[in-house]
């Protein structure tokens, strides 16, 4: 065990032990340990294998940024991949193992890939995949070798709640500056939410102590004030995954995602400590100084017994003092700089006084490993003896050579950032309204200055919310030292100096990518995959830019950075999916259909009866019987899913004239007319029926799937055209059903006093009256090709009228029919269904309905395009076809039409007509084929059949049946 005695502020509860296993080894931690801290406390050095070369890897950041600290956790009944060991608290009974190994972590068989590195250069994916012939082999191999954790396909579905939340000021990051910002904003009256991805607030203020508790005491006091403030809500173990417009921020918590809407946002996420790049910088035992400090002060864990500190800033000296304070043997402090700065001087003197060796102008050469893979020694040269090769035998090397600001959210908020040479980092140059930055992300590093900066940001945010006016931020103080080395990158002839630990990218990979022409930050990223692993470049992007800058001889600012898109950290898919809401609409007759044996199908977002099951009948037989009922007797279908809209006002007719291709200004009151709607390109997008209720009032229908979209579009058009109309959607509030068949009139007559005679209520007429005592609107239309009445009424009356009609129809053996029967009935009539017999490119000239296009009107949507299209050759034409009565092989919808082996169209509707006793269909085909007599159709299994092109309608071409003057 590497656990230190109890120390002030530690996050662990030593009274509560946690037993778990790692790679089959029994381990013990404490409540409050992360997986990483518990493993480190148990002396575990190697946490995982690298993604590409399967090199042994240990802790790097202990801050949620390490690909090699992703583990697979097995618990009772579940196996969860890619658990972030750096931040996830360990729990009793967990069986933990490393991800992506073959044969276990200690003896991973894929470690052989490390020896193959010379033949796996940057971009080898693209080069390997280049050949079509080899692609399947490469694909299989890479799928086998790559990946992280294993998805448990048997995992139960979790309905993770997702919720919204709201606040005045959202402070992201609860380090010293974030705490100060939250307190300042709350004291100004703002409702503040303060989040931090760690289990406790305080950030680096509590672990980067420099052997002195003074700063930590300040931060503890600040934490106490924030915790006690009634207007501050603190959410720990929560991170901001992404920023979206209007200050929406996705917060990922342990069990759910929260969509936080903040009036103002303060980014205080600090900076990621950056690794130095030298040969062997990925060996277990080489870690960031901040990682060692985190484990030291949060979890009382020592990561090494004898360490060297490789530094280029005062933070490294502070880490060295922290090591000394806890009994770590400090082999040396190795400063990359020629001399310490004024800010580092006092710590350097103190270290020298305590006998620590200090070297300046250090040039790392390489770190070497023991046979176990663990760091054994570090070799370097220094300014005084540039040609000498010094060796330090150490089991820990702490790196503190610089920082990269955690500015991903600022990028997403469209902040402008500029590169400051004095800091060697990007800092905000301009921030959008309501967005603030403070602390290290703002280029402020000294503790008291970070607190001041945070306080100012919090006060400014609250001021703006209260007054509505922006207040200028106080200028960030000039830094006493540059916290980041300008080029902590040291190439080695033998390579293995890792720039990106996620993707195992070395210096030469960046160089080779540039040499191949991928020499901008965006191209470099895509070609080399740098920054595309789970850490998303948090440790690699700046070092890669520095190399690129040197290779191109251009300053970093001119190179720019890649866009840091959401998500900031990997997010569990269950969090993103949330509960899953799928709105479904039902007609008022839904329960009645169920009791009648409806077999359901989705239609748009509605559910509708496909057909009504009958005992002893197959699906096809039931549908055929429903068709026969309509053709020979009478049937009743629920068409309540149709869009149902009223339009009123002095410009109502004018509106319809513009929206639809037909003429409606001259439509007589009490009559209906077919309506076809196009988009601006002349493409058919909807159809329906328009009926005139009064001089300034119309009632019209749209297709089921388009009703909601079109109602919104109609509202937009009415506003845009500045027409005085009132649009009323009745879709959900009205029911509708179609009573159709030769006996329809007789059935209806049983329940209405309305004169249904041909003279009083002719074909295409609209009448209003009572049916079974309920006020109804009746449209005499003929979609299914028989005498028919479409009955529209308020939803509350639907069930009574439906039942009354079924009761009256008993004498005629009435039958309810479903969508499939209706599709066949309309197909027999050759009526098209928009969206099925048309697609997103089918224009109105191609569907064979010139009568519906009133091109002489002043205007309708799509008219201009049709005028152009009229002068061009047709691309396709909708035609009818039929197969011989004996044909056994039948096409399906979307089967291809061939012309001398080439695709020349597709089947749009097809089915066996029980009325005609043969298979009939519609197809969109080339004009050349449309002019012929036969179609060749490629059906299942590559077979080809011939069909005869037939004029439509297939049934009752004269339309006599739907106009039936006399009927039963």
């Amino acid at each position: 065990m590497s656990r230190l005695p109890q120390m002030h502020g530690e996050l662990i509860d030593r009274q509560r032990t946690v037993e778990f296993s790692f790679e089959g080894r029994r381990c013990q931690g404490f409540h409050g340990d992360t997986i990483s801290s518990a493993l480190a406390a148990n002396g575990v050095q190697i946490f995982g294998r690298s993604f590409k070369y399967h090199r042994p890897r240990g802790l790097l950041s202990a801050a949620n940024h390490d690909v090699n600290a992703l583990v697979q956790v097995r618990t009772a009944g579940r196996s969860v991949p890619n658990v972030r060991a750096d931040v996830v608290p360990v729990e009793p009974g967990w069986d933990i193992c490393a991800v992506n190994t073959r044969g276990g972590l200690a003896s991973d068989r894929l470690a052989v890939l490390n020896r193959l590195a010379p033949v796996l250069p940057v971009g080898f994916y693209y080069k390997a995949f280049h050949s079509k012939r080899w692609f399947p082999r490469w694909e299989r191999m890479f799928r086998h070798l790559s990946g992280l954790g294993c998805v448990d396909l048997a995992a139960p579905r979790r309905t993770t709640a997702k919720r919204y939340d709201f606040c005045d000021v959202l402070v992201i990051g609860a380090g010293p500056s974030g705490l100060a910002a939250a307190v300042a904003a709350a004291e100004e009256g703002a409702a503040v939410v303060l989040i931090d991805e760690n289990l406790a607030v305080g950030g680096s203020g509590l672990y980067a102590r420099g052997g002195d508790d003074h700063g930590a005491a300040l931060v503890r006091a600040l934490s106490a004030r924030a915790g006690a403030h009634p207007r501050i809500r603190i959410l720990t173990y929560t991170y901001a995954a992404g920023y979206y417009a209007d200050h929406w921020v996705a917060l990922v918590m342990r069990d759910c995602m929260v969509k936080m809407r903040a009036r103002s946002l303060i980014v205080a996420q600090g900076a990621y400590e950056q690794p130095a790049v030298f040969r062997g910088n990925d060996l277990p035992g080489v870690l960031l100084a901040s990682a060692a400090q985190r484990l030291l002060y949060r979890h009382a864990v020592l990561t090494a017994r004898r360490v060297a500190v490789l530094t280029a800033n005062s933070e490294g000296y502070a880490a060295a003092l922290d090591a000394l304070a806890h009994g770590v043997e400090l082999a040396a402090v190795l400063d990359l700089r020629p001399t310490p700065t004024a800010r580092s001087r006092a710590a350097a003197d103190e270290l020298a006084r305590r006998g620590v060796r200090l070297h300046f102008g250090v040039q790392p050469i390489e770190a070497s490993a023991q046979s176990s893979g663990r760091l054994a020694c570090f070799e370097y040269s220094s300014a005084g003896t540039p040609r000498a090769r010094h060796r330090l035998d150490v089991d820990g090397l702490w790196m503190s050579v610089g920082f990269a600001p955690a500015n991903a959210l600022l990028h997403q908020a469209n902040a402008r950032l500029s590169y400051q040479l004095a800091l060697e980092q990007f800092v905000p140059a301009w921030l959008p309204e309501g967005v603030y930055a403070c602390g290290k992300v703002n280029g402020v590093y000294e503790l008291s200055q970070r607190i001041d900066d945070g306080r100012d940001a919090g006060a400014c945010a609250a001021w703006q919310l209260r007054s509505g006016a922006a207040r200028a931020r106080q200028s960030a103080p000039a830094s006493e030292e540059c916290p980041t080395h300008p080029y902590p990158i040291f190439a080695h002839p033998k390579g293995k100096e890792f720039v990106d630990f996620d993707e195992d990218l070395q210096i030469r990979d960046i160089e080779n990518a540039c040499q191949e022409g991928f020499d901008s930050s965006e191209l470099l990223k895509r070609f080399s995959t740098i920054g595309m692993g789970p850490s998303q470049g948090k440790h690699s992007q700046m070092n890669a830019l520095r190399i690129l800058s040197k290779l191109r001889g251009e300053p970093i600012e001119q190179l720019g950075t890649t866009t840091a898109r959401p998500m900031f950290h990997p997010v569990p898919l269950s969090h993103l999916a949330g509960r899953g809401f799928t709105p479904e609409r039902r007609t008022p007759l839904d329960a009645e259909h169920g009791s009648l044996g409806a077999v359901w199908m989705p239609a748009g977002n509605w559910r509708r009866p496909e057909y009504y099951a009958v005992a002893g009948q197959s699906r096809e037989q039931a549908i055929a019987a429903e068709v026969a009922a309509v053709r020979t007797r009478v049937g009743l279908i629920d068409v309540g899913t149709l869009g149902k809209i009223e339009i009123h006002g002095p410009h109502a007719a004018e509106f319809l004239e513009r929206v639809y291709t037909g003429r409606f200004a001259n439509l007589k009151i009490g009559m209906t007319r077919y309506a076809l709607m196009l988009d601006e390109a002349g493409v058919v997008i909807d159809d329906g029926v328009v009926g005139r209720l009064a001089a300034e009032s119309f009632y019209f229908t749209t297709t089921t799937g388009n009703s909601a979209t079109l109602f919104r579009e109609f509202g937009r058009l009415a506003t845009w055209w500045r027409l005085s109309v009132g649009l009323v959607s009745l879709t959900g509030h009205y029911a509708a059903f179609n009573l159709a068949g030769p006996a329809a009139r007789a059935v209806l007559r049983a329940h209405t006093a309305l004169d249904l005679s041909e003279a009083a209520f002719p074909y295409l007429a609209l009448r209003e009256g009572l049916i079974a005592g309920a006020p109804c609107r009746m449209l005499r239309v003929g979609f299914v090709g028989e005498l028919g009445y479409e009955i529209h009424l308020e939803a509350e009356h639907a069930l009574g009228v439906w039942r009354a009609l079924l009761a009256a129809g008993k004498a005629f053996d009435i039958r309810p029919f479903g969508v499939e029967a209706q599709r066949m009935l309309r197909l027999e009539k050759g009526h098209l269904i928009v969206g099925q017999d048309t697609d997103g490119l089918t224009n109105a000239l191609e569907i064979g309905a010139p009568w519906a296009l009133k091109m002489d009107k002043a205007f309708f949507i799509g008219q201009r395009s049709l005028r152009i299209l009229e002068r061009q050759p047709r691309r396709q034409q909708l035609v009818g076809f039929r197969l011989g009565a004996q044909a056994t092989a039948r096409p399906k919808e979307c089967h291809l039409i061939l012309d001398h082996g080439q695709i020349a169209g597709r089947v749009t509707s097809v089915g066996f007509s029980p009325t005609l006793g043969c298979c009939i269909g519609l197809a969109l085909v080339s004009p050349k084929l449309a002019a012929g007599a036969q179609l060749r159709i490629r059906i299942d299994e590559g077979k080809q059949i011939d069909a005869e092109i037939t004029r439509t309608p297939f049934y009752d071409a004269s339309g006599e049946r739907q106009r039936l003057a006399q009927s039963a």
Binding site: A161, Y164, G649, A795
Partner: protein, 196 residues
């Protein structure tokens, strides 16, 4: 179905009588009929006779008898239904699913199902009206009337009746996961079709 300690209360109020109208002359028409018409868009006014008039956006109105049927509303309904209204007044059919949700757990439920922050609206709410919110909850457009009643916050939701089954049952599922829902069965109307 219900939990004695449930922090949520559901009540189906679809049975209430209501009607709607819109158009440039709708406001004047309702005022001429003696209704208390809210002056501000997206606000509601409840008159002494127990009739709520909700102004939806600028020129659409939802009128509902919240304290039981009134002859005045019945007359208005038939007037609108028969289109016996002045020019510029257009009838709007209102067959809504109407749910009243209440209880201490209401805000948690709303935060799982709607992107509007109702908390400040509960504070602003007035017993005789207050703000109306036109928004979307779990993918369904709703008219929401937030207010504060004896047992805490409450919101009345009007939604398209074709979504009734989905809307009601989904809210119920979320509420149950939250710790339980008390349902007023007695007044559970047929709008949702079933009670799963």
């Amino acid at each position: 179905m219900s939990s004695p300690s449930a922090a949520l209360r559901f009540q189906d109020l679809s049975w209430r009588r209501r009607c709607g109208c819109k158009g440039p002359a709708a406001e004047a028409f309702l005022a001429s009929q003696g209704y208390r018409v809210p002056a501000e868009p997206n606000s509601a006014a409840l008159d002494a006779g127990g009739v709520l008039v909700a102004r939806l956006a600028s020129s659409e109105f939802l009128i509902e008898a919240v304290a039981g049927p009134t002859p005045r509303l019945a007359a208005l309904r038939s007037q609108l239904h028969e289109r016996r209204t002045p020019s510029g007044v257009y009838p709007v059919a209102r067959q809504d699913l109407v749910l009243e949700l209440g209880g201490e757990g209401l805000n948690v439920l709303l935060r799982q199902t709607c992107s509007v922050d109702f908390a400040p609206l509960f504070e602003q709410a007035q017993s005789d009206g207050g703000p109306i919110v036109l928004t979307s909850m779990i993918g369904v457009g709703v008219v929401a009337w937030p207010r504060r009643v004896a047992d805490g916050p409450a919101v009345t939701l009007w939604s398209d009746p074709s979504f009734a089954h989905y809307f009601y049952n989904t809210l119920l599922e979320v509420g149950r996961d939250q710790g339980g829902v008390t349902i007023n069965r007695a007044e559970r109307a047929s709008a949702t079709g079933s009670d799963t």
